[in-house]
């Protein structure tokens, strides 16, 4: 601690709401990055909750930005381009005044961080809807759009990393420039009051109004999200398997959702039933026609799920062997041969041994777990 700071009186700059928000957002963003990049797709549920929390925190922060205490207010740190440029010029010439709250550049950083977090949340929800047909936008977004939005989501994520880096550099630079530990101030909330500080108009916090607005906004968002989530998904696979199909095919193996394969390949498979993966699985004519018709009516061509799109491209030499598609092999490349052979999996074709939602054709990554070895 410098001599300087002992002499100067400390004043509360960052109120408790700002500080809790800041570090909670750090935690949510950190969790979102870790679950996305390090832990993989089976952690998607945690990633979604981390992202939703970050979005909720940011919304609450914006509300606090118009109802909070002096330095929490957007009006105290959001400046026009002219003032921002002047601050930049003053920085270069070494004449920039000290701001107790955010300086103009810091203010823009806050807005940028908030905007990118909201962009991440929006693109994430849309991508979730398009690719996995779940969440509030599952009813509205196509798979193709979902894939495009996933790239946008990644762009936003990289942008957020850059902004976070700049934010940290800015905080450290300003700490050095004003000889004050700014990261610590975000913990204690207190900073020195000094002569020549940039003056802002004082504002009184309205915590009850803020609480009411936040509760309304988040409650409304949750209610709306649930309403939308309940809508039938866009291009969902057939939800209920035909009872004859389910009974007949599951005598030997799980009943595959018809959306996993094209109509043309189902027809080929059905025609070749007398030699079905090395066994005779033929039907009488009446059942053969009934099952083929149902499969064709609900084939991949009629669905918009990820599995229906990605498993569609089968090898012409093995037109109905899904486990030989490039998508399938690349997704399962880390799983050893012996793992597939052991109980209770036994076979690569036994999707439902690990994917609890295999029959629905959804294959949501968090629904996949390698089962323990059975005795």
């Amino acid at each position: 601690m410098s001599q300087h700071s002992i002499q100067q009186p400390k004043t509360l700059v960052w109120d408790i709401a700002v500080r809790v928000f800041h570090w909670a957002l750090v935690g949510a963003v950190l969790l979102a990055f870790v679950t996305a990049d390090l832990f993989g797709a089976t952690w998607l549920t945690y990633h979604i909750w981390a992202g939703a929390s970050a979005a909720g925190l940011v919304v609450a922060r914006l509300i606090w930005g118009v109802t909070g205490s002096t330095y929490a207010r957007l009006a105290s740190f959001v400046t026009g381009p002219r003032e921002t440029l002047r601050h930049l010029r003053d920085l270069v010439t070494g004449r920039a005044p000290r701001h107790l709250g955010h300086n103009p550049l810091g203010g823009w950083m806050i807005l940028g961080l908030i905007a990118v977090v909201l962009g991440l949340a929006a693109s994430g929800v849309a991508q979730l809807g398009g690719i996995f047909k779940t969440g509030p936008l599952g009813f509205a977004v196509s798979y193709a759009t979902g894939e495009q939005l996933s790239e946008l989501h990644e762009v936003f994520a990289n942008l957020l990393l850059i902004l976070i880096g700049l934010h940290i550099i800015g905080a450290l630079f300003e700490s050095w420039r004003t000889r004050e530990n700014l990261p610590l101030a975000m913990v204690t909330g207190k900073k020195e009051r000094r002569n020549g500080d940039h003056q802002v108009s004082q504002a009184k916090a309205m915590p009850w109004l803020a609480a009411l607005l936040v509760a309304t906004a988040l409650g409304g968002a949750i209610w709306g999200a649930r309403q939308l989530t309940a809508r039938p998904a866009f291009g969902a696979a057939v939800a209920v398997l035909d009872p004859t199909y389910a009974a007949e095919c599951s005598e030997c193996h799980q009943a595959f959702n018809p959306s996993l394969m094209t109509a043309a390949n189902w027809v080929l498979l059905m025609q070749a039933l007398p030699d079905h993966f090395g066994e005779d699985a033929s039907f009488d004519d009446q059942k053969q026609k009934q099952l083929t018709d149902w499969l064709v009516q609900n084939a991949a061509d009629t669905a918009d799920t990820k599995a229906s799109h990605r498993l569609r491209a089968t090898d012409p030499a093995t037109p109905y062997t899904l486990t030989k598609t490039r998508f399938w092999t690349s997704k399962h490349r880390d799983i050893a041969d012996e793992t597939f052979k052991r109980a209770p999996i036994f076979s690569r074709s036994n999707c439902s041994a690990c994917h609890s939602d295999a029959e629905s054709g959804q294959f949501f990554p968090p629904n996949a777990t390698l089962p323990n070895e059975a005795k």
Partner: protein
Amino acid sequence: MIKTALLILTTSALLVGGQAVHADPARDKIIADLARAAGTTLSAQRGQAFFTGTHSGGKPDSPSCSTCHTKDMRKPGATRVGKPIDPMAVSVTRDRFTDPEKVAKWFKRNCNSVLGRECTATEQGDILTWLSSL
């Protein structure tokens, strides 16, 4: 455990039925029809030899009925993707061979898989006679 359960089942079946151990009108009719078509006396012993023996002419992965059904008819078998098959012994799976359509469907499929042809009435009748006696 299983043995005790079997014992109880068998005993109660004996008490209730009071005659053939696993009698069932539908199954008796299927076997009787096969016997008529075969024109000969059916043999459980022949059925066992045929069922557990190794054959050629069928698909390479299934040279015997026992490939999937195992040689212990009181234990479950497994399809080639690991799905359990109920035990074939009528004493364990009580509703075995009571649905003529199902019997015909699986004889057609599995004889083709194991032997590359349909099974004769004698072969089918022998097998059912054996499995019904267990």
